[in-house]
Amino acid sequence: MVKFWTILFCSILAVLAGLAGCATKGNFYRDPNMDFGAIQSIAVLPFSNLTRDNLAAERVRDVFINKLLSTGAVYVLPAGEVARGIATVDIQNPSSPSPGEIVKLGPIIKCQAVITGVVKEYGEVRSGTTSANLISVSLQMIEAQTGKIVWTASTTKGGITIWDRLFGGGGQAMNDVTDNAVNDLINKLFK
């Protein structure tokens, strides 16, 4: 009997150790050689929209710009100024510019870094009779001087929880889910 418990205990320990090995530092990357303190102004380019909601990218970008500004750590250029820069450089696809285009854009709008992003999920998801709001976004920061990616992060917030399955309720409001996702991304940026 004692032998059985010993084997069970060892197995659990082995499984836990195995799982710990799978752990990562989080789904983001920071260039260790980049001095993020030197970045004073950032341009947030229009995000790419992979969702069915036509305005999803615009909504997330808007919240992200305001949240980033409200941290007081960096200055974010107005969307109109960024649009002027895009038109001047003639960036064909503003949501995924080439390093060369970013190097040209930086001095025109006077920014040290550019943020691009992709909104992968935005809106209601269903599973059986339960529904809830979900958002999935990934961002990357590119240094304007070199066109090099210095930070990337992604997040997924919302979705159907056990609580939703048991009691319904439809999950959190889309605006709250977006706020959570953007907060998570900003935390990863300033980590």
Binding site: N66, S70, G80, A83, R84, N175
Partner: protein, 374 residues
């Protein structure tokens, strides 16, 4: 028994005295108006045709006529229809949503009118329950057009249903009459020398912006001249960019710290310089606007949602962001994100529900304006 009778007698006497005192505090409308007549404005008013921002077929002539009738009834001089038509034809005035500097000067010189009444219809729905929202402003004529008075009204037939639905308004004409009466009360109040509705009202906390960036460069003790530029419209609502700009003009006009430039002057400035704004105001655009209009701040933003609902079920939805660019630093000194639904914080029997996007946006814009100079 005797002591309880005495107590009741005393209570009755106190109650009667209290009621008498309260009746003394009652608002004698005629008397106050009479006193206020000392400060009454007696200039001739030109009533512009109503600007239709609702995107639907609406009784524009009736709305304009109600303003004329009310002002005439109160004894305020109105510019004759023939003179106004001839002036508009001579100067090719097609845009009735504002007045530029040149037209304002010509108005004063050629017609003698002291002010122009500009009305913009935001929403008109005659489906049950009917809805109406509109804003009006009185702008002075002469060298520099100044907004003298601005107010608005947003009503829905089902906003005060009352007991057993007795307060429901199903006739759109009745609702229109009620809205017009409230708006022109405010105008005639101003013209009679009363304060009108221009003062700051209490804003509910739920209408405050959700995300705010405010630069320390804003000096709360200073007076700023502001140009409100039409917003970038990403919503499905037609004319939402102009409606939102008008809301901010209205709410900032109520705040002492802001001197708001007449939207007609801003529009003419943008047209003269052929300023095309892609996705909002760029710094190059801002420099031009600062130079031409000689303002300290430019207010603009983006409208993501501006929805009113039809019928009885639903709630209005408004989502927008605002930015303020400072002339001195050439930087954004304010940026905020606001979103609300008419049923936010409503849990029981639609108590506290807001039925029109107008009412909600007015409160949201006022909350922003007040936070800017706090």
């Amino acid at each position: 028994m005797t002591s309880s009778t005495n107590f009741l007698n005393k209570a009755a006497v106190i109650l009667i005295v209290g009621l008498l005192c309260l009746s003394g505090c009652a608002y004698p409308k005629g008397a106050v108006r009479g006193d206020a007549q000392a400060g009454a404005k007696k200039f001739q008013i030109a009533v512009f045709p109503v600007e239709n921002l609702s995107g639907t077929l609406s009784p524009l002539k009736e709305i304009r006529q109600s303003a004329i009738d009310r002002l005439r009834a109160e004894g305020f001089p109105i510019l004759e229809e023939g003179i106004l038509e001839k002036f508009m034809a001579r100067h090719r005035v097609r845009y009735t949503g504002g007045i530029d500097q040149g037209t304002a000067k010509a108005f004063k010189e050629e017609t003698g009118a002291g002010a122009v009444l500009i009305t913009s219809l935001e929403l008109y729905s005659d489906k049950i329950p009917p809805k109406i929202s509109l804003m009006a402003r009185l702008v002075s004529t002469g060298e520099k057009p100044v907004i003298l008075w601005m107010d608005g009204v947003g009503l829905a037939g089902d906003q005060s249903p009352g007991l057993l639905g007795l307060g429901l308004i199903e006739d759109p004409r009745e609702l229109r009459k009620k809205a017009m009466s409230s708006l022109w009360d405010s105008l005639t109040g101003y013209l009679s020398g009363e304060k009108g509705e221009m003062g700051i009202q209490r804003v509910k906390r739920k209408f405050s912006p959700k995300i705010v960036y405010r630069s320390f460069e804003i000096d709360p003790g200073r007076k700023y001249t502001v140009a409100v530029v039409p917003f970038f419209n990403s919503s499905d609502r037609k004319n939402a960019e102009e409606i939102m700009a008008l809301h901010f003009v209205k709410e900032l006009t109520r705040i002492e710290a802001f001197d708001v430039v007449e939207p007609g002057v801003v529009r003419q400035g943008l047209l003269n310089l052929r300023v095309i704004m892609e996705e909002g105001v760029s710094l190059a655009n801002a420099d031009i606007i600062f130079g031409v209009l000689n303002v300290d701040l430019i207010l603009s933003g983006e409208v993501l949602d501006y929805q009113d609902y039809q019928g009885t079920l639903g709630a209005p939805k408004v989502n927008f962001s605002v930015l303020l660019i400072d002339r001195k630093s050439r930087r954004m000194v304010w940026s905020s994100d606001s979103y609300n639904q008419g049923d936010d914080g409503v849990f029981f029997f639609d108590c506290g529900k807001v039925n029109t996007a107008y009412t909600m946006t007015s409160q949201m814009a006022q909350a922003i304006g007040r936070s800017m100079v706090k």
